[in-house]
């Protein structure tokens, strides 16, 4: 049973991608249905794999029935099955969102015939990386998902995306080359790339060689996982991509790196030689990432920086190398994949509703779209770790594991984690305050006639103008005329409103004032913005369209998933703890691959 199911999460999306490419140009509708069906099937298969792996323990499949150390093996244990389920869930949510966006926009934003096959290839790469039983297959999985991500990131080929894409590609290439060189050295030192075999053979190497191999692998994976100081590429490249692409990148790609770090630190090099370094890196990632988020004004950039920052939590859990720490890290990975994807989807909706993702230009979103406000607020509080949500449970688990460990460095990290959580709250509540609660009028972009007229307040109302006039007259150039005008009684105010054009005439000053007030009123009550013929009207005041239902539905479903993580936190944390136990034990993985025989 498990041997049939295991290759499917890789095979199905690859075959689906081929089929989607074939039908792409002529039958976009068939293509959408096809890719959604494929991903649903992947989700079902992953769910079955998780149930099987959690019930029976790890299992391995030798592709093509080659004898074990020679062929490619795919391994499903609790960790990889859990990652597969979460990855398939968010991928499906993002795909439905993208379908909704494509249906609403036509094909100009996302050339749909390319998007769907590439997206499926990306998922195949992610699944392959999670299932890979040898290092080179892991490399191939990374390359599949990275190549697909290059295409997705530069979709449409506009100048900012090309700029962002080049940074991203060059950095990814460098990390891939490092990984490949590390594989070469691992093979030279041990004569195998099978991870289960490596787990046994690497232990016999001299300590120095081990350290070199471990640090090369870790550097390569930490670039992919965006661990500080190797994280600078992420906030530069992610925000420019289309919303669904950013969402799936933020959710999945960095977590594949984290997954690889987990495997390196537990299966391949369980000695904990670099734990101290990882802890410092985790602390720096958390703090510097979140300080970056606080400084930003663009929602997508804020989210990119919080993404970097919260990777630090996972690295912290891994570097503790205890069961509690690893369990916390695994739970946090699951939580963070779902939450970060959801928030980026919400950012896509915000951009649609408000016409921008810069908090300086947004305002009044809570009144404009209360649904959107709820969709932002719930995952945002979840990200910051407000108690009922899974973010709190994950952080609590990690902080408890840190306190249990008892060393001074873990305690420092516990403090850093708490500070990061608070700063996350600051960053996202600033978005909430400015984009959702602040009246649009107060934002710099809201400097419109209406706002000005409203802000001008009582002093330009006729009665107040008359009362103010003696005080103001002293500064006026024609103060004398002003004063004489004010000597008139209020009785003839009504007739002065119409038709007067002379400013020079005595009493004309008052008339002019009233005409000005009338103009103010005309401006303030104008139903359409005035045009001055300069041609900057279009795009400034987009008519408020209702958000496409499919996109809102997909985002709401993702929010429901993130909230559901809280409800399922008990069983989920149980799986995470058992997975962490397996990781530390290492024998389930090794004996799954070698079937109980002696490892050659």
């Amino acid at each position: 049973m498990i041997s049939v199911l295991t290759p499917l999460p890789v095979l199905l999306p690859l075959l689906g991608a081929a089929a989607a490419l074939l039908v792409g140009g002529r039958h976009p509708r068939t293509q959408r249905v096809l890719s959604i069906l494929v991903l649903s099937a992947v989700l079902v298969v992953s769910g079955a794999l998780l149930v099987l792996a959690d019930g029976d323990g790890a299992a391995a499949v030798s592709v093509g029935d080659w004898p074990v150390p020679l062929g490619i093996s795919l391994v499903v244990d609790r960790l990889s099955a859990l990652m597969l389920v979460v990855a398939a869930t968010v991928a499906l949510g993002v795909l439905v969102f993208a379908v909704g966006q494509g249906a609403a926009d036509g094909d100009e934003e996302t050339p749909i015939s390319i998007f769907h096959p590439t997206f499926l290839v990306l998922i195949a790469g992610v699944a392959n990386a999670f299932l890979a039983g040898d290092l080179f297959n892991l490399y191939v999985g990374f390359e599949i998902l990275l190549t697909a991500s290059y295409v997705l990131l530069t979709l449409g080929g506009s100048a900012p995306r090309i700029r962002a894409g080049i940074t991203y590609i060059v950095v990814s290439l460098l990390s891939s080359l490092l990984f490949l060189a590390a594989i070469a050295l691992v093979y030279a030192a041990t004569g195998t790339v099978n991870m289960a075999q490596l787990a046994v053979r690497l232990a016999d190497l001299p300590a120095g060689t081990q350290l070199l191999l471990q640090s090369m692998l870790l550097i390569a994976f930490c670039i992919k996982a965006a661990v500080f100081p190797l994280s600078a590429w992420l906030p530069d490249s992610y925000p420019t991509a289309p919303a669904p692409v950013t969402a799936v990148f933020a959710g999945l790609l960095t977590k594949v790196g984290v997954y690889a770090v987990i495997r390196t630190q537990t299966l391949l090099f369980p000695g904990g030689a670099l734990d101290q370094v990882l802890m410092w890196a985790a602390l720096a990632t958390m703090l510097i990432g979140i300080l970056g988020a606080v400084a930003q004004t663009d929602i997508r950039r804020i989210l990119s920086f919080t993404l970097v920052s919260h990777i630090g939590y996972m690295i912290f859990g891994i570097s503790l190398a205890s069961q509690a720490g690893l369990a916390g890290a695994i739970f946090y990975v699951v939580h963070h994949i779902a939450i970060q994807t959801t928030l980026f989807l919400v950012a896509g909706l915000v951009e649609r509703q408000g016409g921008s993702t810069s908090v300086d230009r947004l305002g009044s979103l809570a009144t404009a779209s209360p649904v959107l406000a709820v969709l932002y607020f719930v995952p945002a509080m979840n990200l910051a770790g407000i108690p009922p949500f899974s973010g709190f449970i994950g952080k609590l688990g990690l902080l408890q594991a840190g306190v249990e460990d008892g060393g001074w460095l873990p305690i420092v990290l516990v403090g850093g984690g708490a500070v990061t959580s608070l700063l996350t709250l600051l960053a996202i509540s600033r978005v909430w305050n400015r984009a959702f609660w602040r009246p649009r009028a107060q934002s710099p972009e809201g400097d419109t006639f209406e706002a000005a007229a409203a802000d001008a307040g009582p002093e330009i109302q006729p009665a107040a103008v008359a009362a103010d006039a003696p005080g103001a007259a002293g500064t006026d150039a024609d103060g004398g005329a002003d004063r004489s005008a004010d000597a008139d009684t209020d009785g003839d105010a009504a007739e002065g409103l119409v038709g007067a054009s002379a400013v020079a005439a005595p009493g004309g000053r008052r008339t002019a004032r009233q005409a000005a007030w009338k103009r103010h009123a005309a401006v303030a009550t104008a139903s359409t913005p005035a045009t001055d013929g300069f041609g900057d009207e279009q795009g400034r005041e987009r008519p408020l369209q209702p958000l496409p239902r499919v996109m809102v539905g997909a985002t709401a479903a993702m929010v429901a998933v993130t909230v559901g993580l809280t409800a399922l936190a008990g069983p989920l944390y149980g799986v995470a703890e058992r997975a962490a136990g397996d990781l530390l034990d290492r024998t389930p993985y090794i004996s799954a691959v070698f079937g109980g025989e002696d490892v050659p």
Partner: protein, 175 residues
């Protein structure tokens, strides 16, 4: 047998040249550097297979005389991947050249903007101290001249007389 010194020297040379090129801002050089690094890594994989031997084909050579076939398989995969990505990168460089007439790694403008931001709060800033383009839209100096205001008002609200009462200017002059 004695290990050859040629491969490590070539690998080291390729790595050095590749890293040097990768540090350049010009994308073509980055691509060339990437290709050199890729070749260096492939050679590293090849040398990881141990001493050279006969072609690893059953019936052609004895098992002891064969060279290790696995690194060769890995290299083939890596070459294909490098080839594909180099092609994609070339297309990207061409696109960048078409779009902005340059093929260098560009500066992220948003980064620059954030870095330039003053650390004072907006409330503490005197608008007159700001550069004209940073002033808020409603600041008096952002309009070209008073008569410009008058002309625009006359155009929009014909029939309503103008005066010099403090009116909101209609729009930034520079837009």
């Amino acid at each position: 047998m004695t290990p050859t010194v040629v491969l490590p020297v070539i690998i080291g040379g390729l790595y050095a040249a590749g890293v040097y090129l990768l540090l350049d801002r010009s994308l073509t050089r980055v691509l060339l550097g990437f290709l050199l690094l890729g070749n260096a890594t492939n050679l590293l994989l090849l040398s990881a297979g141990g001493p050279s031997g006969l072609a690893p084909i059953l019936g052609y050579a004895e098992a002891e005389e064969m060279s290790d076939p696995l690194p060769q398989a890995l290299i083939l995969t890596a070459i294909v991947i490098t080839f594909g990505i180099a092609a994609f990168l070339l297309a990207l460089i061409y696109r960048s050249w078409r779009l902005v007439r340059q093929e260098v790694v560009e500066v992220d403008e948003e980064d620059r903007r954030i870095a330039r931001r003053s650390d004072t709060d907006a409330d503490e800033i005197d608008p007159d101290d700001l550069a004209p383009e940073d002033r808020s839209a409603m600041h008096a100096d952002t309009l070209a001249a008073d008569d410009e205001v008058e002309r625009r008002l006359a155009r929009h609200f014909a029939g309503i007389p103008s005066d010099d009462v403090d009116l909101p200017p209609t729009r930034r002059a520079d837009r």
